[in-house]
């Protein structure tokens, strides 16, 4: 029972991650509001992070932390710590980029009085 469900999860985790990512990108591509675009990018980042962590997951693995008493039962399976470390970095970087993006949005609003991206195109051709 459990195993069958976990088999389903195999696809569901990746599927969710990719779906969230694509939804976010859709928001960034289809919505006109600059804030919506930033929100979309941020959502797609979340999906991407989930995807990365999911890659490192091992069935039956534990968190890669050697708490006291853990070392006795060595060779217990641990999940891959590397994607976690990478995601840690990616989340922080993503936050930095989001902050800069929001600052730009605020400034664009200050100059243009609108957040509609179709109206913010002084630079073209």
């Amino acid at each position: 029972m459990d195993n069958a469900l976990f088999d389903l999860l195999d696809y569901a985790v990746y599927g969710t991650a990719i779906l969230v990512m694509l939804i976010g990108i859709y928001g960034a591509l289809a919505k006109k509001s600059l804030l919506k675009i930033v929100i979309g990018l941020s959502v797609s980042d979340s999906g991407l992070n989930m995807l990365i962590v999911a890659i490192g997951y091992l069935k039956g693995g534990t968190a890669p932390i050697f708490s006291p008493g853990y070392l006795d039962g060595t060779n217990k399976l641990m999940v891959d710590p590397v994607p976690q470390a990478l995601v840690l970095t990616a989340i922080v970087i993503g936050f930095g980029v989001t902050a800069v993006a929001l600052a730009l949005v605020i400034r664009l609003y200050r100059h243009h009085g609108t957040l509609n991206i179709d109206e913010i195109k002084n630079l073209k051709w």
Binding site: D45, L48, L51, I93, V97, V100, A101, L104, N122, L123
Partner: protein, 495 residues
């Protein structure tokens, strides 16, 4: 040896963290310190390059863990050459912008120089690193500095340009992470040499998909054709010297990254032809767009995009001559396009609406600047005896050796377009039928003038005596081509 490659990253970072403190002591220090750092790095780079030419590449490991466990930096003839160019150019940009606008206050100046220094450091990091995720981090460092610098002027267009750049940059990092994770999930390593060593064990479909994602992500930064929407805006709205930094430093780093992936890491042969195709597309469309521009900086931006396309084409030949030609082009592009951006900034500065049409007769008002602009224009077109000629010749030779006559004729046709729009500007500068303009002439500052003269001198030097660089270029291209040597060098380090 005066130091190790890690200092290229560590020293600027240390300085960057120090600058806010130093600024509290003496405000001028925020302008001076980046320059001192860059001077030190230039000395370091030249020394290391000299060493590398004789003794082979320096592989530096970080945190005491030999690759593939730890991160490593590779200072080979190829990467070292690019690093040296970048830092040299960075130094000139610093010198040029030292007093670019006198009325800039302390806070903006601090931020400007900090971001500029980190822009250079990030690009240098991209080139030096031997780890794909570390490259991602450096790309982000470069990216954020670039967004900040693009929006540096408080006008409304600069924020717009910066936002476009940021949007595409975010998409780029999404793709980059996806690609990195595909590689990691298959091979369990992030080290370039280790990946290159084992890439043949990877499922070919995944390999190609991850390569496509890499090319897309890096192509956004490297201004490949359908991905380069941000570039003209960012170039034209950023301060003049920053435009030079984008053209001369940032884009070079991204092109380097693409090349590293295609030449060293992946073993997909079709990628070379793909490079030629996208390079040609970039070249042709950018130059066609450039000819219709009304603003000088935007024109330079498109021209710069086009040049990068040409560089990719040259790399795409996949032969050592091709790499040599591409490196030569990159070198020349760094020098010449910077000169054009530098002198062009003053030309723009002296015309009210930044339009080319307003530059009639500036040749008389700003004789040296205009002369240098004309020199740069002649050089970038590839007229002998200036520097650009040798690189154009080597690109064409490489193309002819691969029997790509059609590509050759396209390149020449595009050069013709390039020639037309550059000469239109030069013609205007020296057209004495000037309009009555009441604007006071803003002469370049002494340091800006020195910078431009140095670049002009280099153009002539390389033009008349190409031997000053060809030796290094040959070594650098040989270093890139020898993939197995790279893998061996990196993986045989034991600590």
């Amino acid at each position: 040896m005066v130091g190790t490659p890690v200092l290229f990253i560590a020293i600027p970072l240390l300085a960057a963290f120090l600058i806010p403190l130093l600024g509290m002591i003496w405000k001028e220090l925020v302008r001076i310190v980046p320059g001192l750092v860059l001077i030190y790095l230039l000395i370091l780079a030249v020394n290391l390059l000299d060493h590398v030419m004789v003794h082979g590449p320096i592989i530096e490991i970080i945190a005491g863990w030999a690759p593939p466990i730890g991160i490593n930096l590779v200072f080979s003839a190829f990467s070292g050459f690019l690093v040296t160019i970048m830092i040299f150019l960075g130094l000139l940009i610093w010198l040029y912008s030292y007093r670019f606008k006198k009325n800039v206050g302390y806070e903006p100046a601090k931020k400007y120089f900090l971001l500029l220094m980190m822009l250079i450091t990030g690009s240098v990091g991209i080139v030096l690193t031997g780890d794909i995720f570390n490259m991602f981090v450096f790309i982000e460092i470069t990216g954020i500095s670039a967004y900040g610098l693009t929006a540096f002027y408080t006008g409304r267009d600069s924020a717009e340009a910066s936002f476009k750049y940021l949007m595409l940059g975010s998409i780029a990092s999404t793709f980059l992470l996806l690609a990195i994770m595909i590689i990691y999930s298959q091979l369990g390593t992030l080290n370039m040499a280790d990946i290159a060593n084992r890439i043949h064990t990877m499922n070919p479909t995944y390999k190609i998909i991850s390569l496509i994602f890499f090319i897309t992500a890096l192509g956004i930064e490297a201004e490949i054709f359908p991905l380069n929407g941000w570039a003209p805006d960012a170039y034209s709205e950023a301060p003049g010297p920053v435009g030079a930094a984008f053209a001369g430093i940032v884009v070079k780093a991204s092109v380097y990254a693409i090349i590293r992936y295609i030449f060293t890491i992946f073993d997909v042969d079709g990628a070379f032809n793909f490079l030629i195709i996208i390079g040609m597309l970039t070249l042709i469309i950018a130059e066609m767009a450039a000819i219709r521009q009304e603003k000088l900086k935007r024109m330079l931006a498109y021209s710069s995009i086009g040049q990068m396309g040409l560089v990719l084409v040259a790399f795409g030949f996949g032969t050592e001559e091709g790499v040599y030609a591409a490196l030569f082009l990159m070198l020349n592009h760094a020098i010449i396009k910077s000169l054009l951006f530098f002198s062009g900034s003053y030309l723009v500065y002296n015309s009210k609406d930044k339009l080319i049409a307003e530059m009639n007769g500036l040749g008389k008002k700003l004789p040296i600047t205009s002369f240098l602009f004309a020199l740069g224009a002649f050089a970038i077109i590839g007229l002998p005896p200036f520097a650009g000629f040798w690189s154009k010749l080597s690109v064409l030779t490489a193309a002819a050796d691969k029997n790509m006559i059609f590509i050759m004729s396209l390149i020449l046709f595009v050069s013709l377009i390039e020639l037309v729009y550059y000469l239109r500007v030069v013609n205007r500068l020296y057209n004495s039928k000037e309009k009555a303009s009441s604007i006071e002439v803003k002469k370049p500052t002494a340091n800006a003038l020195i910078t431009m003269l140095v670049l002009g001198g280099l153009i002539l030097l390389i033009g008349f005596y190409p031997d000053v660089v060809t030796g290094v270029l040959h070594k650098a291209s040989a270093a890139l081509m020898d993939k197995s040597q790279y893998i061996h060098n990196v993986l045989s380090i034991n600590q």
